[in-house]
């Protein structure tokens, strides 16, 4: 890392740029919703005007040494609706999270290549179409307003750069104002502007997609033409990574750090060529040096991925950022095709905010619309155990319950309302052509349902199968009472269930095949269902924050888990079991047909930092990843943590302000997490002590 970047990193991590920030009140934008209402503006125009007003109030700021500019100075995004209006909308609509377009992968590449002028021309041409209705012209006008607003914003920065003698920066800004990028620096600056603009428009979980693919042409041309040396290109890349950490505390999320700035590297092309390039490699190196939580790195791999790539990834894992996360093309691509994605789109997949597989530019999927509590589906039919002649009958009851829960989930999401997003629409394919805002849908409009507590559910079913049906060891009354009173009078039973019953993670087919059944049932139950936007439903192994919510209402479970205990996050073994080791876990978790749960959700493995003593041990961690991928795992995320350090950080947060941990699908600063998440991280299993 060169001094300039070091200083900039220091400046940003010390939050010195926060001094420029102003509130909506300070810039006079606190009441624009009332003005909007009074002028009776259609919402899509409000969205464009809101962005326009916000960017107008943005102050041009260049941090010391900066070459890639844009820093947020207005700390909030103004609301487009008055409180009453929003209340009215929510009273008869389903609102996903904040109601904004989020968690999709914009197609930055098109605008970076062709510039705003191309989009502008498309819009003007389209506006000549006499068959357009008012809604369509409103949308197109709004899109034009957004372009104008962003161009004015760039102009403001350009003038400011000139005024402070930053002529190179001014020139870069000048060039990207209307035209596409001609070199790596311009491409990064334009990407920064586009990314900045969608955040400023109130959209969130704005992912970065296949950065190493869409940026590579600019990088390689500059290297070839001698415009940049590799070192200079690397410095710019590091600076771009820094920009992702400047305003991220202003981005909406469940917790600080949950901001969805995912980046996907590598992968195989439709022709079978492996796409990991120089730039991909540099991204890993930049992240390794900067040691910051954004962007969050994902690597697309498959069973033929060269070992060096796993080693590079593992070097990053070792420093404890909680990424890279690995996705297996061999499983994900056929899984997406199976769910109706075209082959071309499937090969282009990326990761949404956490782990959900989505397609850049063409998918308005909502991959985290809801979650099914698999453990609750088992728990809630336990009272009917005595009506079942055998395990199969009991399992059918569980399936029926899953189906019932899914019915309710699907019903719940009807009349979805999403706030129009003309700025985001500019970065999505087909919106201008169809004169349709992205909030109204795209080529893919699929919903993803997480499945929480898989291990708890499978372990519970295994315990019932073994001790009730196979061995007749625990009677119906005992099961029901023990679960009702949280094992208060059945401590021995609870101990047996916890220590002797089959558990996922031990490479035991008895329970692992039950997990496989559960996932297949989950997929089968969703199969054929259509959502109101014409999309399908996808089953997943992720949990998002639902692992916290679902555990709270679950009560005691037949696997021996007490009511007050948590359930695992994502696709992981139960928390209280003593693991045999990562190999058994990997074997257990690769027996299911993971192509069927293509909404995603990684297996998480945690390692004590101390076991990685040298380069050789880092390579071996890479081999472990490769093993999971070769055995057919879909997604893997590894953490290196030190439990003692986390415990101490709880006591003395002031000493650990930079301690990074992985939470569920994202990494965050440990000391900034709510205590329940801190405790969960501490309680997770840990190998290698």
């Amino acid at each position: 890392m060169i001094e300039r970047i070091k200083d900039l990193r220091e400046f940003i991590t010390n939050k010195k740029h926060h001094a420029y920030r102003k509130t909506l009140e300070e810039v006079g934008l606190q009441d624009i919703s009332q003005e909007f209402k009074d002028s009776n503006l259609p919402i899509v125009r409000r969205a464009a005007l809101g962005l326009s007003m916000m960017l107008e109030k943005e102050q041009a700021v260049i941090l010391p040494g900066e070459k890639i500019v844009c820093t947020r100075t207005v700390s909030q995004v103004p609301s487009l609706f008055t409180a009453e209006e929003w209340k009215q909308i929510t009273s008869n609509h389903y609102i996903h999270e904040h109601g904004m377009v989020c968690n999709i992968s914009p197609d930055y590449a098109y605008t970076i290549k062709n510039g705003f002028k191309a989009r502008k021309k498309e819009i003007s041409d389209k506006l000549k179409d006499k068959t357009l209705n008012k809604e369509q012209t409103d949308f197109l006008d709004a899109a034009l307003t957004c372009i104008d607003a962003v161009q004015k914003f760039i102009e403001k920065y350009e003038q400011y750069a000139l005024s402070v003698g930053e002529t190179d920066t001014a020139k870069t800004l000048h060039n990207i104002k209307t035209d596409g990028a001609k070199n790596f620096r311009e491409a990064l600056q334009l990407l920064r502007v586009l990314h900045f603009a969608i955040w400023a428009a109130g959209n969130y979980h704005n992912t970065l997609g296949r950065f190493d693919q869409y940026m590579y042409p600019y990088y390689s041309a500059d290297i070839q033409n001698g415009v940049l040396t590799k070192e200079e290109a690397f410095d710019l890349l590091e600076e771009f990574f820094l920009t992702c950490n400047k305003d991220s505390d202003l981005y909406p999320g469940m917790q600080q750090g949950d901001n969805g700035q995912s980046m996907v590297l590598g992968g195989r092309s439709i022709n079978g060529e492996y796409l990991f390039n120089d730039l991909s490699c540099m991204c890993l190196q930049a992240s390794f040096e900067l040691q910051l939580i954004d962007p969050k790195i994902n690597i697309r791999v498959d069973k033929n991925t060269p070992d060096e790539i796993y080693t590079l990834g593992s070097r990053l894992t070792r420093i404890g950022l909680g990424f890279p996360q690995y996705c297996n093309d061999d499983i994900v691509i056929p899984g997406l095709i199976r769910k109706g994605y075209t082959k071309e789109d499937a090969y282009n997949y990326v990761v949404a905010a956490c782990w959900e597989f989505i397609i850049p530019g063409v998918a308005m999927d909502i991959p985290n619309i809801d979650a099914l509590s698999l453990a609750a589906c088992v728990k809630s039919v336990i009272n009917q155990l005595n009506s079942c002649k055998n395990y199969q009958e009991f399992y059918q009851l569980v399936e029926k319950e899953m189906s019932h829960q899914i019915d309710m989930i699907c019903e719940k999401h009807k009349h979805l309302y999403m706030v129009p997003a003309p700025m985001m629409s500019l970065l999505m394919d087909g919106t201008i052509e169809n004169a349709k805002d992205i909030s109204e849908g795209s080529k893919y409009n699929n919903y993803g349902i997480h499945g929480t507590g898989l291990a708890t559910a499978a372990d519970s079913l295994a315990a019932i199968k073994k001790y009730y049906f196979d061995e007749n060891k625990v009677s119906y009354d005992v099961w029901v009472c023990a679960l009702e009173d949280n094992f208060a009078k059945e401590k021995d039973l609870q101990k047996m269930l916890r220590t002797e019953a089959p558990k996922m993670g031990f490479d035991d087919d008895y329970v692992d095949f039950i997990a496989k059944d559960l996932l297949n049932s989950f997929d089968k139950i969703l199969d054929g269902r259509k959502n109101e936007r014409g999309g399908i439903y996808r089953a997943g192994t992720g949990t998002a924050m639902y692992y916290i919510f679902h555990a709270e209402t679950l009560g005691a479970t037949p696997d021996g888990r007490s009511a007050e205990e948590k359930i695992p996050a994502n696709y992981s073994p139960s928390l209280f079991i003593k693991q045999k080791g990562p190999m058994s876990v990997i074997k257990s978790f690769t027996k299911a047909d993971l192509k069927n749960v293509i909404n995603g959700g990684p297996l998480t493995l945690e390692f004590d930092q101390s076991i990685f003593r040298n380069e050789e041990s880092v390579e071996k961690l890479g081999m472990l990843v490769k093993t999971y991928i070769t055995l057919g795992g879909h997604q893997l995320q590894l953490n290196t943590v030190c439990k003692e350090k986390l415990l101490d950080a709880k006591k003395h947060p002031e000493n650990y302000k930079n301690l990074i941990v992985r939470v569920w699908g994202w990494s965050g600063y440990f000391v900034e997490l709510d205590e329940c998440y801190q405790n969960h991280v501490i309680n997770r299993i840990e190998f290698g002590l």
């Binding site: 490479d507 045999k580 080791g581 990562p582 190999m583 058994s584 074997k587 390692f607 076991i611 003593r613 040298n614 050789e616 041990s617 071996k620 961690l621 081999m623 472990l624 490769k626 093993t627 070769t630 055995l631 190998f687 290698g688």
Partner: protein
């Protein structure tokens, strides 16, 4: 079929031979090294340990068949990541009949290594080595008196077996030296060792393992005190006389 007593199976052993290995710890050791960090491996019998969550039994009986089956179950995975199994302890040769049965059953199927002090009869050593792919051989002290003083036993059988490995066995091996401050981290000890191993054809490398400062952690759990007869707080000297004699050296 022999029964053995083991006290741990570690699935992700990455510092005990090539690739990702499963390390199996056999209970019982004839040595009593003053710096031993696995004191629960010394007694040949199962014993209780006081752990954070209460008493836990350490050590259990397993048949050679069952253990071999457990190992063979992951045969393909070992191949995939260039790993195998490393039998450790305690001193694995201490349960030599059991050990030989296990090795016999997995021979040729799984890359097999052993981590040994070398303290066993020459006959057993030769037979065990013949069934292995790699030997991790500890040399703690070349001086007979000092060896006896700090480990409780003579180093004669160890040096004999080392000589066999260096000059006769035709088997890959790694020498491991724990560097104990003030005990064996002397230039003299290193030079004597160098003399013993410098002509060995199949010596893969030497590993110098710095004294583990956590060594005392488990003694209270088995009701013992850790009173090392050396100052555990000082850093051991590293006399790397091996590298310059073209012996690959790894310092951990």
């Amino acid at each position: 079929m022999k029964q053995g007593i083991i006290f741990e199976i570690e699935e992700f052993a990455i510092n005990d031979g090539p690739g990702i290995r499963t390390a199996i710890f056999l209970k019982g050791c004839p040595l009593h090294c003053a710096w031993c960090h696995n004191p629960e491996g010394i007694s040949p019998n199962p014993q209780y340990m006081d752990k954070k969550n209460g008493k836990e039994i350490c050590g259990y009986t397993i048949s050679s068949d069952e253990l071999s089956q457990k190992i063979l179950r992951n045969k393909e995975i070992f191949k995939l990541n260039h790993g195998g199994v490393t039998i450790s302890g305690g001193e694995p040769m201490y349960q030599s009949d059991f050990l030989q049965e296990v090795l016999h059953q997995i021979k040729g199927e799984v890359h097999a290594a052993i981590e040994t002090s070398g303290f066993t009869s020459h006959e057993i050593f030769k037979n065990v080595v013949s069934m292995l792919d790699l030997v991790l051989f500890d040399v703690k002290q070349t001086n007979p008196e000092l060896h006896k003083k700090y480990t409780g036993v003579s180093n004669q059988p160890i040096l004999d077996n080392l000589n066999y490995l260096c000059h006769e066995a035709d088997k890959d091996f790694i020498i491991r030296v724990p560097l104990i401050p003030g005990v064996n981290d002397t230039e003299e000890n290193m030079l004597t060792l160098l003399d013993l191993i410098k002509d060995a054809k199949r010596l893969v490398r030497i590993e110098l393992l710095r004294y583990n400062k956590m060594a005392g952690a488990k003694y209270p759990m088995i009701g013992q005190n850790y009173n090392p007869p050396f100052d555990p707080t000082i850093e051991p000297h590293i006399y790397n006389v091996f590298e310059k004699n073209n012996i690959k050296t790894l310092i951990l």
